[in-house]
Symmetry: C2
């Protein structure tokens, strides 16, 4: 069989989000054969939600051109508080009613396949490790920059789940002890309170009160400011937007350095919507990391963008199913 | 053989410090049969240093009542920059001239035993994991509070060395992004710059300029202020000293929470000279950790003092030698 043909066994990955459920079938080499997305309809609660997850999985198999019989196992990635080992969702902030749901068992029964549960940030990190920006590494940290700051850690080829399923919750490391900003989670001084897209917009709105002359003020007048608008204004040379992006790069570098002095991985990757800001943003993160980290990791740790985009979650979830139930060659 | 009798095989542990070299023979159950200390004489350089390490090892074996033939392997813990996998010391700030020293090979040849090199903070963490405050855990983080803030991480029974021997350098995680204090290492905002004994004294001296009425002013008049004098004044009820200790507990809790949201271990341990401050200091760290961490780790992560004192380093180094060369039952 040539390397370009899909390689069995096949794994179904499902990525549960507050807005959409993404799903796809992935072959043994980590290549997605399909990628579908359906609305989560979070307000309808977990009973309907289980149906929707099941349906998303079926759609992904259909779209892949395979049959159910071809699927060896299923991986589900989910946000929120969970017990990974027990396969329980405990409490999902963006999905009301999903409390104490034995989702691994329920979904496994519905789909009739061996099933694993994984944190969504961990699953995305595993996807990048397997076939994305972390290919060939042994250890990596992935930060996913969007509404919040997601994170996942892979050490020696295994997800660092932690002893209470809280490993790699690095959006909530504390980077500001004194005079901290409040994080959406309720904590203070967390990385997410400084470096998420939401925080970038918040800092922009604060700064505009003092510097109304920025071109961002015009963008703001047209509607709610977005992180994308700020990134674009920075590219056009707007001084305030540049300063805000530079500040964000510094906060992300601070998070990266803390992880380099803790996990010391081969690579630190950044994914999520904010990486649309492009190479100059990445280069600023890199420069600041090199200036702040100890010499050896500063020189040797790869700092790069993630490569799988929005598919990282389901690819990684499928990869976790493969690691648990398959007989991986790597 | 009864459990109270020394259990072969035996391992020699050596803990190289800037001031002293500690060494002891440890049995297969992690019990030290000897514990000796000799001056490092750091100024004499690495050639004399190798002799001193060798001599310290021989003294420890002699003090144990065993012979060289009884020693199965040797573990060396060292501070500074190193390549653990290659067995090289690269640069030791407190030991001038120890640059690019293939210490594992050199010491192994001198002693005629299989030898491993480990970072001293990592070795101490492994010692506490094996037979100290972390007995029975699978994962732990140890902070050693002294002149600096040392650290070591054990995950699933193995030291998290990192890919460039910089794993667990958590005295140098960044806890203050904006308006940071300078760390003795040259970095900014590091945990060590806020929570070491040195930093506690520095913060006290700064505060005394504004509050000369504290009883600490009298202590200061008698000679250089020490962290011990501050802890004692806090116990006696001095308001400034209490505030300084409380602030220190908060900074340590911030470091602990960052590690709980990254590694998510079973236990966070604190060791080193500053734990002489006693139970009230520990309880304040615990209270602040519980208030700041996510609910599940806040409830389940044990926060405690280390138990092996100054012997943790050589016991852990011996334990690392056992893990590498022995056939451990646990």
């Amino acid at each position: 069989m040539s390397a370009s043909e899909p390689q069995p066994p096949f794994y179904l990955g499902i990525d549960l989000g507050g807005t959409n459920i993404k799903s796809g079938v992935v072959d043994d080499a980590g290549r997605p054969l399909s990628s579908i997305s359906v609305p989560t309809n979070a307000a309808l609660g977990p009973v309907v939600g289980l149906n929707t997850l099941t349906e998303a999985g079926r759609m992904a198999v259909e779209a892949s051109g395979l049959t159910w019989g071809d699927v060896a196992a299923v991986g589900l990635g989910s946000p929120g508080m969970m017990d990974i080992e027990a396969g329980f969702l405990l409490d999902l902030p963006n999905l009301p009613g999903w409390v104490n749901v034995p989702i691994r068992e329920q979904l496994g029964e519905r789909l009739g396949k061996p099933t694993i549960l994984q944190n969504d940030g961990n699953a995305a990190a595993f996807g990048e490790y397997w076939v994305g920006g972390g290919r060939g590494t042994r250890s990596l940290v992935l930060f996913t920059l969007g509404t919040g700051v997601g994170c996942g850690i892979v050490v020696d080829g295994r997800i660092l789940e932690g002893r209470h399923s809280h490993g790699g919750e690095c959006g909530h490391i504390i980077i500001q002890a004194d005079n901290p900003r409040r994080c959406p989670c309720g904590g203070y001084g967390h990385l997410e309170a400084y470096a998420s897209a939401t925080s970038l917009v918040k800092r922009a709105v604060e700064a505009l009160a003092d510097e109304p002359g920025s071109s961002l003020a015009e963008a703001q007048a047209r509607g709610p400011l977005t992180s994308q608008a700020i990134a674009e204004a920075a590219t056009r040379g707007d001084a305030l937007a540049r300063r805000l992006m530079s500040e964000t790069a510094r906060y992300l570098a601070i998070g990266a350095v803390t992880l380099m002095h803790t996990i010391d991985p081969d690579a630190i990757l950044f994914g999520g919507g904010m990486i649309a800001a492009g190479e100059s943003f990445l280069n600023e993160i890199r420069d600041r990391v090199r200036a702040m980290a100890f010499p050896v990791p500063a020189e040797r740790t790869r700092v790069a963008y993630a490569e799988l985009g929005g598919d990282a979650g389901f690819i990684g979830a499928a990869g976790c199913a493969r690691q648990t139930f398959g007989t991986p060659r790597t």
